[in-house]
């Protein structure tokens, strides 16, 4: 019973997050402006991170944790660099 | 003491993080302590100024308020997206707020709060004038938002960061 419940919830969650990733990537591809694409990528990062956690739950191990942690702490570095490039035309001045 | 532990709060936080990650044990407490110290030195190389916090009570109150606000805004924004912008009646816009807050760390905390709360976006802060430019998802009244920022968050932050 609880397993079914959890199965349903997690399956939905995986699907929803994957769908969210699709939508985010639509922004990446569609644009129209560069900032939209960066926003899409940033969202994609977060979505994938959540997908790690959910998949970890589903499989029942915590080994997805490190990957989620790395996205959580370091994922923004890529988008920050991209954003700074937009503003300044270079990443490091 | 300040030379050995330039950022005691931070080091403490990092030790907590270490223990959260690795699980509590004496060995990890020692190792984490050492690493937290080293990390503190690293920060002090970048930023010699120490962070001073006052009134932990105000801090906690802030956390509570923000947590609640975030939940509320989550629901509100989700609803707006679902209802297709209240059938087109939603209006978003820019709001300028004059801040008294000058401490960069306090501003950083404020930025976190504003950003973490769905519906408000931090766009620009002018350190000369102290004017903050926000973008608000559902702009009913500009003044409401200015009050919200000034009274609800800034006041408490001024208490915490002298």
């Amino acid at each position: 019973m609880t397993a079914t419940l959890m199965w349903g919830a997690l399956t939905w969650a995986q699907f929803a997050l994957a769908a969210a990733a699709c939508l985010a990537s639509w922004r990446i591809l569609r644009g129209p402006r560069a900032q939209d694409r960066i926003l899409g990528l940033d969202t994609l990062y977060v979505t994938v991170m959540l997908l790690f956690v959910v998949t970890g739950l589903r499989v029942g191990t915590s080994f997805f944790f490190e990957a989620a942690l790395v996205i959580g702490l370091l994922g923004f570095v890529a988008t920050v660099a991209l954003a700074k490039f937009l503003i300044r035309g270079e990443v490091i001045e | 003491m300040t030379r050995m532990v330039p950022h005691p709060l931070l080091s403490l936080g990092l030790l907590a993080m270490w223990l959260l990650l690795n699980g509590p044990s004496l060995g990890h407490a020692l190792l984490g302590g050492a690493i937290a110290l080293v990390a503190g030195w690293a920060l002090s190389a970048l930023e010699p100024e120490r962070l001073r916090l006052r009134r932990p009570g105000a801090m906690l109150r802030l956390f509570g308020i923000v947590g609640l606000d975030i939940i509320r805004s989550n629901i509100a924004v989700a609803g707006l997206i679902l209802t297709r912008d209240r059938k087109g009646k939603r209006r978003s816009g820019f709001v300028k707020v004059s801040l008294r807050l000058r401490d960069p760390a306090a501003l950083a905390v404020l930025s976190i709060i504003v950003t973490a709360t769905p519906g408000t976006a931090w766009l620009e802060y002018d350190p000369e004038t102290g004017v903050l430019l926000l973008h608000v998802f559902d702009l009913v009244s500009e003044e409401d938002w200015q009050h919200l920022i000034r009274d609800r968050y800034e006041a408490l932050l001024l208490e915490v960061f002298p």
Binding site: V59, G60, T61, F63 | -
Partner: protein, 114 residues
């Protein structure tokens, strides 16, 4: 899952090959990056696909190897990731330098004459 992954490898590889054959250095570098994704996934898939059984062993006790993902392809991919990271960086710098000395970002260091 196997079908999805193999198709994914195919798409990555096709995009990579297409870019690899383009005339601009940036295209080539992106192509190499995509190709290295494809190749890394390919190497990885040589250990076959296993869900939820990373090669993290219990401390002691009997170990049933079939219950875990094959660790060797994983370690090969790790090495390959590092090396392709390094070479991408190198290629990038050569690309920058080439642009600097030749004034163009064409892979041949000069625009094609038509």
């Amino acid at each position: 899952m196997e079908l999805v992954l193999s198709m994914a490898i195919g798409v990555l590889a096709a995009s990579g090959i297409w870019l690899l054959l383009r005339p601009r250095t940036f295209q080539v570098i992106v192509g190499l990056a995509l190709l290295s994704y494809a190749v890394n996934l390919f190497i990885f898939s040589m250990g076959r696909l296993t869900v939820g059984a990373p090669p993290l062993m219990p401390k002691g006790g009997f170990v049933n190897p079939t219950a875990y993902a094959d660790p060797l392809p994983q370690s090969l991919v790790l090495t390959a990731i590092v090396i392709s990271f390094a070479t991408t960086a190198l290629f990038l710098v050569v690309m920058i330098a080439s642009r600097g000395v030749t004034g163009t970002d064409h892979v041949d260091g000069k625009e094609r004459e038509t």
